[in-house]
Symmetry: C2
Subunit: 269 residues, 2 copies
DNA sequence: AACCAAGTATCGCTGTACGATACATTCGTA
DNA sequence: TACGAATGTATCGTACAGCGATACTTGGTT
């Protein structure tokens, strides 16, 4: 059995909460740590691995896993070699997507956009230093695992991220750049603070952001921001294509207006 | 702000576990009950609503919601009118899909199938009396909310369900029929046990299952089962189209062989 | 056959989480 | 503008839920 590698670039949000809050139920935090152990996993995990990753003892892991198993949030792997996340998780996925008003508003517009552009169209939502993909309308050729709901990418080096940053103050942008763990995900990834600021400025002027192969070789993406009524950026719309079919200039000329219209339609309710 | 109605036909799996199991951490169960409160919600929920739906007191709900909020699994609604599921849920969605070997194996085949048939293609997984959609490759026209990951449908009255039942013993099929809460979801939904058994038998003979408007008016769907090496059915592949474009016979003649091939390719590793 | 690791079971003590209640704040209505 | 209802927030003493050390079972590997 082959399992998919983890390959998650986005930094999971800081789990550095806790402390002695009288309302904080730590058993729940333990459960979520156990579930989060799978974020870094590329295969089913054993109890001990879960214990280690979740930062708790064997007994604790045993109890938590047992409980989550009863409830359907953790399952035994098909060939009984370890634990994997359980199907009940998907029920909550549905709830999240259904009840997120931005997703609700954006969806018909995205479908329409996808129909027009015939390239991949994504909706991502901001969570701290990353963007999380909430809706993905694939085009023909990509592999499914490059386009999973729940995948996340860093803000600092993506088209969507820069579209989002374009709607922030310079101070906020600097803070994001500062706090991000800036790695060269591909050789083309822009990691220099000054260069990132320049790209953000460019996005402000153009009304859309562009990224070339900064996450994936051969990929070109443009994005426009989705904002709250008060102007706070909440996420982005992405259009992504292949550099084997497009040069950057044509891609932008063709799709930037469409991405702009779509974002506009969503932003004004 | 408009919110999407619940409209979930599949029966959520029984949460009738618990009792006095020494390894069972009930605080975790409480947390999951709170998250599950959103399954029946069509709008953000207040603390009291969550307490009621989750079957616990106000204090308990307060603590659990507080904790889940710290962790990002629950958020305040945008206009501060109630609570909604939080974005961290999507991280676990991704883990589930990544680590499910069936999804992993099926995905490339599904993408290829989608390219060929140009209609909606879905992958569903069995969970008790229902099928949960794990991957959905939309066609042009549907509304996004009809095609959410995590949506579930009953086994007894769907093409996928009957494809799955076709790989079970008569006794197992009867048990599913018996335990299912059989409602007429549309006027065309087949709810009579004998009629269901006949459709299952038909699926056994044809190697695929057919359903006409049993879940959604105007929809035609065929499905083939995905099975474990030992023959246990695990889920199904669906191809769904519109009756405004297809008559049943043409649809079957055209797509049944393709659905069969795809399932075959996935089933033999 | 012998070993090692994974999963399962047991148990007494402690500190976590329980739930009642009281407070604060925001909303809709008169 | 004042009122009342409902929502979210804070506090506190007590009981029992969950903690973690340890020991047992099972199954796969060398």
């Amino acid at each position: 059995m082959r399992y998919i590698q983890k390959a998650e670039y986005g930094v999971p949000p800081s789990t550095s909460i806790d402390e002695s809050d009288p309302l904080f139920v730590q058993a729940i935090a333990r459960a979520m740590q156990v579930l989060s152990a799978f974020h870094a996993a590329g295969k089913p995990l054993t109890l001990n691995e879960i214990a280690a990753a979740g930062g708790l003892g064997k007994s604790g892991a045993q109890r938590v896993v047992h409980t989550l198993r009863q409830l359907g949030y953790v399952e035994r792997d098909a060939d009984d070699r370890g634990y994997v996340p359980g199907i009940r998780i998907l029920d909550h996925t549905r709830d999240y997507l259904r009840l997120n008003p931005l997703v609700a508003r954006a969806s018909p517009v995205l479908m329409e956009l996808r129909r027009t552009v015939r390239e991949r169209v994504d909706l991502s939502l901001r969570d701290g230093l990353r963007l999380v993909y909430a809706a993905r309308l694939q085009s023909k050729r990509e592999t499914f695992f490059a386009t999973l709901v729940g995948q996340s990418v860093p803000i600092y080096c993506t088209s969507g991220g820069r579209a989002v940053m374009a709607h922030m103050s310079d101070a906020e942008v600097d803070e994001i750049i500062e706090r991000s763990e800036r790695r060269e995900i591909t050789p083309k990834t822009i990691t220099d603070p000054g260069a990132i600021r320049a790209k953000v400025q460019e996005a402000r002027e153009n009304g859309y952001a562009l990224a070339l192969e900064e996450i994936l070789q051969g990929e070109i993406a443009i994005a426009t921001a989705l904002v709250a009524p008060d102007g706070t950026p909440l996420g982005a719309i992405h259009i992504a294509g292949s550099l084997s079919e497009w040069d950057a200039e044509t891609f932008c000329r063709r799709f930037a207006p469409l991405a702009g219209e779509a974002a506009g339609a969503i932003n004004r309710f």
